[in-house]
């Protein structure tokens, strides 16, 4: 009983996570940065670790987390933390 209650609380926490938190966590984990580093300067051109492999991982994780499938143009031009939220908004993700 205790174990399932523990699991239940963890599951609730994940379900309660806002879209903004989910989005932020993906960037934090992939790029190994602090949340405070994520702003409108966090983009493809300026982040050294943002290469084709991390980009592939990022797009894949975002698709999974928000249950969407990006169009070609959005895969190719998803280039920044802040603008990325605007892109996701077009897929119905509310922040």
């Amino acid at each position: 009983m205790r174990q399932s209650m523990r699991f239940g609380r963890n599951l609730k926490r994940e379900n309660d996570m806002s879209n903004k938190e989910k989005y932020q966590n993906i960037f934090v984990n992939i790029f190994n940065v602090d949340a405070k580093d994520l702003n409108d300067t966090f983009n493809f051109k300026d982040v050294e670790k943002w290469d084709s492999l991390t980009h592939l991982t990022l797009i894949s994780e975002l698709e999974d987390a928000f249950d969407i499938m990006f169009e070609t143009d959005d895969i190719l031009h998803f280039g920044g933390y802040v603008n990325g939220m605007k892109t996701l908004a077009r897929y119905g993700v509310e922040f």
């Binding site: 592939l56 894949s60 999974d64 499938m69 143009d73 895969i75 190719l76």
Partner: protein, 235 residues
Amino acid sequence: MPKLNGISIIGKRPTILQLSYGVERANTYVIEEDGHAILIDACSKDVAKELKKRNLSPDYLVLTHEHCDHLWGLNAIRSAFPNVQVVAQEYCNEAIGDPKRNKAKQYHIYATMRFGESYQNAEARNRTYSCAPAEIVFKDKLKLMWNGHEITFRHTPGHSPGSMLIHIDDVGIFSGDSILQEETFLKFDGGDEAAFNSITLPIIIRIPDETVVFPGHGEVFQMKEWRSNGRIAER
């Protein structure tokens, strides 16, 4: 459906058809002799239609590795030819049933990034694509006789954990993505440069110059052409 770029007929006996699909030029080979056929990879659902057109029923379908661009047609081929026996390396066999490990989950992203807006393949947008296990599975090495030919399968990790080379006597080597005219790509998730260098490269460097290589992408070539590009010297 991906565009069939071309059908090349190579050799006289056995006949080898190279069916090349899409902008990535993923190759399926149909080896045919005396009414018997073997397939190397299944890069599109359209492979089944091509076989029906030619009145061919494959005995074996060999998977060079577990990446989805070499598997898109496997389920359709199994439906069309229920008696076909699929051959896979042990890791490959496990991975083909998992869209994450067979890369179906993210292939459309990779292909879009690589080929840009010209990339159009509806099959690649199936992020949940998976296949049932193979009928014949091996770990390091396997030999089969087919229509009088000896076929040797060898596990060659590096590009992917479940990659193999297939050597058909007097015909050549079907290399999947382990040997390509461009450098073998080892940086996908699951790629392993250490395994490639310690296990696969010692096998590759022993392949004679005159051996014909039938790669997973691009045109057929001889080993001496691969060597002359300096890849062994670079390593």
